[in-house]
């Protein structure tokens, strides 16, 4: 890799001890970051590690609660994105901020410094030459809506550069791109670096970070967890750098300065959840559970003899099959690509993956909530592809979304209404036309008692309840429908220990009764604890499926970041 170390001897941006809190969440805790001109600086970390917050602080979106930012040695206050841009800092977000029905030229000129009158003529030639330079074969007069996502992203970059941006912040820039586009974006970033721009690359994808970065900063749970300089990035061999980064992202201590390239010597990997204050996290998380597993788990195994895992061929026990599923995400970019999976009766199938690699979409496809563009979904051999949520629910597929408040429930509606939400058109809640309010209320009371939900009563708006209690109700609602297949997306996020245990036990029981549970989770320990088999998703594909016995956090973490499967039999 090009060294590109002809830097001047001072950083262009120095962020020192940046702290930013959102309510009870400490998103950034005394984080520091230096940016040098002419470098590509990757900021890595798990979901919730504080990467995006840090970037938003630098981009002027948020004011830090404490800490200082210096630009070219001078302390500054960036109280708006415009202020940041005046200082030469511009951001390109995952969600683009271009106006779709204005032209490229207008978008670039929009909001630029200058008077009230918009004079596009002088800018046009410059924009045209930059477009050509950036490999975009379009006229500046083209409307944004005619451009593909990758092209729009370049326009965003041009916009920043034309306003004098010398520090370019890119938040997950490759998440919307096709593999070919990713390559050319990375090439573009290298060119910008060579022109002296400081490029900040926020990413989950380790491969990309390794390919282009001169420097890597690792955040974990809102704190600096590691910093690899150009000497390391250009010197040591890939594999050891990769191991070090994984250790720092997931590891229990950011030490481990070994040059050992074997993954097996990584420190034990315990993902840390976002620190919520007050915290009980320390007591909550047993380190590596292995030797003594919870009783219910041990029982479960015993009951079924051998675990249902380790079977690669579909058998008569297959309950749900996904065959070559492809689908698009909310933004129209491919989210799942040719994914096949057989789910077996009586198993909890865990899905690991960094957010945004298609897990949510997979859950939605199973639940009938997201149409597939190709492939088939078979429930007990019957084709239920694209039949919709109502049909899937009727046929025995349940789905607990990770978005409790905005998707799973109607905040202003009562607990009773929310409990009846998914089966309102059926007995006992209605005869298809008239509601049976009493049945709704009874069911709510029953679930409140059974699941120990803290609520003043069934008529309380569900939005008044705490997150954990809403989660219990949503789970209870699905379980009450006695689903054969239950998909749960991060069901334990933000729950206390007792509720977490309760949720896990409920899911395990559901599987023990011969049903399938698909558990999407980001906490690997939990996933390993409860799942019979674990699949890892990366870029819309199941890159690996393994029985629980073969799963450990290091292996999963490696695969989640796009690492290749180490030589074991690959399945799925």
């Amino acid at each position: 890799m090009a060294q590109a170390l002809g830097q001047p001897n001072s950083p262009v941006v120095e962020m020192r001890d940046i702290t930013k809190r959102f309510g009870p969440v400490l998103a950034n805790d005394r984080v520091s970051l230096d940016l040098w001109p002419g470098e590509i600086h990757a900021v890595l970390g798990e979901n919730g590690a504080g990467k995006t917050t840090l970037m938003n602080v630098l981009a002027g979106m948020y004011q830090p609660d404490s800490g200082t930012i210096r630009i070219a040695g001078e302390p500054v206050r960036l109280d708006s994105p415009a202020a940041a841009l005046r200082r030469g800092i511009g951001a390109v977000y995952q969600h683009f901020t271009l106006v779709p029905n204005l032209s490229i030229l207008e978008n670039v000129a929009l909001g630029a410094e200058g008077g009230f009158v918009l004079d596009l003529a002088p800018a046009e030639a410059k924009v045209a030459s930059m477009l050509a330079d950036f490999g975009l074969d379009v006229s500046p007069r083209t409307e944004i809506r005619h451009l593909a996502l990758g092209q729009r992203q370049r326009v965003e970059i041009i916009k920043v550069l034309l306003r004098g941006g010398r520090v370019l912040l890119l938040d997950e820039p490759t998440s919307v791109l096709t593999p070919g586009e990713v390559q050319s974006l990375l090439d573009l970033l290298r060119r910008l670096r060579d022109q002296g721009v400081a490029v900040v690359l926020i990413t989950h994808k380790l491969g990309e970070a390794l390919a282009v970065s001169d420097r890597v900063t690792i955040l974990r749970a809102g704190r600096n967890a590691g910093d690899l300089g150009p000497d390391v990035m250009s010197g040591a061999d890939r594999e050891s750098v990769r191991a070090r980064i994984i250790a720092q992202m997931f590891g229990s201590s950011p030490a481990a300065e070994t040059d050992d390239s074997s993954m097996d010597h990584l420190p034990s990997v315990i993902p840390t959840p976002p620190r919520v204050i007050p915290t009980k996290e320390e007591s909550r998380r047993p380190s590596r559970r292995r030797p003594e597993e919870p009783r219910f788990l041990a029982d479960a195994r015993h009951d079924r003899g051998a675990p249902a895992a380790a079977r690669d061929e579909p058998t008569s026990e297959t309950l749900l099959s996904l065959r070559n599923i492809s689908t698009l995400g909310d933004r129209g970019a491919p989210a799942l690509h040719d994914l096949s999976l057989d789910l077996l009766r009586g198993e909890v199938f865990g899905i690991a993956g960094v957010d945004g690699n298609g897990q949510k979409e997979l859950g939605e496809v199973i639940a009938g909530q997201r149409p597939v563009t190709s492939g088939r979904v078979l429930l007990e051999g019957a084709d239920i592809t694209n039949r919709g949520v109502a049909a899937a629910t009727r046929l025995g597929i349940g789905y607990v979304t990770d978005d409790r408040l905005h998707e799973g429930s109607v905040a202003e509606s009562s607990v009773a209404d929310n409990v009846a939400l998914k089966s309102i058109g059926r007995k006992p809640f209605s005869n298809g036309f008239w509601l049976n309010r009493r049945a709704m209320e009874q069911q709510a009371r029953r679930l409140i008692a059974e699941f120990d939900v803290k609520t003043p009563g069934p008529h309380t708006p569900i939005g008044m309840l705490s997150g954990g209690n809403i989660q219990k109700l949503l789970l209870a609602r699905e379980l009450a429908l006695e689903p054969k297949v239950l998909v749960c997306n991060k069901p334990t996020t933000g729950l206390d220990l007792r509720t977490t245990q309760f949720v896990i036990r409920s899911l395990r029981e559901q599987a023990n009764a011969g049903n399938v549970v698909v558990l999407i989770a980001s906490e690997l320990d939990e996933l390993i604890e409860i799942s019979d088999r674990i699949g890892v998703m990366y870029s819309g594909q199941l890159v690996a499926v393994m029985p629980r016995a073969e799963a450990d956090p290091e292996t999963l973490g490696h695969l989640m970041l796009g690492g290749a499967r180490r030589p074991r039999k690959a399945s799925a």
């Binding site: 995400g329 919709g388 429930s409 905040a411 705490s466 933000g494």
Partner: protein
């Protein structure tokens, strides 16, 4: 039933009452600036509007179409559909009702004629809502724009029809054939108020039952409150959206028929009662609660009738009452904002989304209306 007595049930009304009080005070200031004594003006308003049988009768007659229109608007707003096209739907409904009624008047028993005219009116309103409905459901076009534009189309189409194709050839002014007084809706026994008021009350009660006791009403509420939750729950979101818009259009058409059959007897070119705006004020003041429409409809009708009666002796333009309505909506918006800021939901949501998105809070990112149709398509086949 401790629930019925709990203060929270009527707390939302306080916001409305505060908004009305504030609007009256602001209106009083305007009057004072114009050199009128506000207390005297409001005194006349009340004494004429509430204190005379003429005032009360006129108020009740005026209430009927307002109740019907606002009940329909309530259905659409509770379903999250912004039907700004009430006025146009009402005009089309009124014209069809006038034409249908006059065509068969005298040839069939009056109740049959009323029924047919009312159905024609509803069909007209429904038809006028159908276009925006299809545009919304098929292509995701914003119904606020399309229903608004359909108002202008309605205004011109009805005015053209009444000047040509459906004009009464025996008279000079552009109007439909007159339905004679004895063939119009009778008065409620012992009053000067035609039975349209009863129709209005029945419609309000039906809408109340719809939302309290039927599956479709339940689903409409869910779609209105949280569309994504409705998709998640497998509800036929598009169909429900269309139903809500069509129902409110049909009710606007019914209100038009009501005015033709009860008061006017014919459709005149350039007639445009403009109930739509009052209906918005009404539905918001009633906090989307259908039964509360009744007292507020009475109040707004009283303002209009009392305002007309106050206008001449005091020299206050009748526009003053329209201004009051506008002020009420403005004050209501402010009051509702204050209410929301103090609501426990706001806090609950903040606490809830905090940890879930720790470190990466709901971004400062611009929402993407462009992508909405994509999300909608991806969201759910109905």
């Amino acid at each position: 039933m401790t629930r019925a007595l709990s203060p929270s049930r009527f707390a939302p009304l306080l916001t409305s009452l505060a908004a009305i009080a504030a609007a009256l005070v602001l209106g009083g200031i305007f009057l004072a600036l114009r050199g009128k004594d506000p207390l005297a003006a409001y005194g006349v308003l009340v004494s004429r509007g509430l204190g005379t049988s003429y005032g009360i009768t006129e108020t009740l007659i005026r209430m009927a179409p307002l109740l019907i229109v606002s009940a329909g608007l309530l259905v659409s707003l509770r379903s999250g559909v912004w039907n700004i096209g009430i006025d146009g739907q009402l005009l089309v409904g009124a014209l069809l009702a006038g034409v249908a009624g006059a065509a068969i008047a005298g040839q069939v028993p009056n109740p049959v004629m009323w029924l047919i005219a009312a159905l024609a009116g509803m069909a007209g309103g429904l038809l006028w809502a159908l276009v925006p409905g299809i545009l919304r459901v098929r292509w995701g076009l914003n119904e606020i724009i399309t229903t608004l534009m359909m108002n202008y189309v309605a205004l011109n189409v009805t005015s053209w029809l009444v000047k040509g194709p459906v004009k009464d050839p025996d008279v000079v002014p552009p109007q439909t054939r007159l339905i004679s007084r004895e063939m119009r809706l009778p008065d409620v026994a012992g009053t000067g108020v035609h039975v349209g008021l009863l129709v209005g009350l029945v419609v309000v009660v039906l809408v109340t039952i719809l939302f309290r006791h039927t599956v479709i009403g339940f689903m409409l509420d869910v779609v209105g409150r949280n569309r994504q939750a409705a998709i998640h729950a497998g509800m036929p979101v598009n169909r429900l959206t269309l139903v809500a818009l069509l129902a409110s259009g049909a009710m606007a058409g019914l209100a038009g028929a009501n005015d033709i059959l009860g008061v006017k007897g014919l459709f005149q070119g350039n007639w445009n009662p403009g109930y739509g705006f009052a209906a918005f004020a009404l539905v918001y003041l009633a906090r989307l609660n259908s039964l509360w429409l009744i007292p507020f409809a009475y109040f707004l009708s009283f303002l209009v009738i009392g305002g007309e009666m106050m206008a001449r002796p005091l020299g206050i333009p009748t526009y003053f009452v329209e201004m009051l309505e506008g002020l009420m909506l403005l004050c209501f918006a402010v009051a509702a904002w204050v209410e929301r800021m103090r609501s426990p939901y706001a806090r609950a949501e903040e606490v809830e989304t905090g940890p879930a998105n720790a470190g990466e809070p709901p971004g400062p990112l611009i929402s993407e209306p462009l992508l909405e149709p994509v999300a909608r398509v991806a969201g759910g086949p109905s």
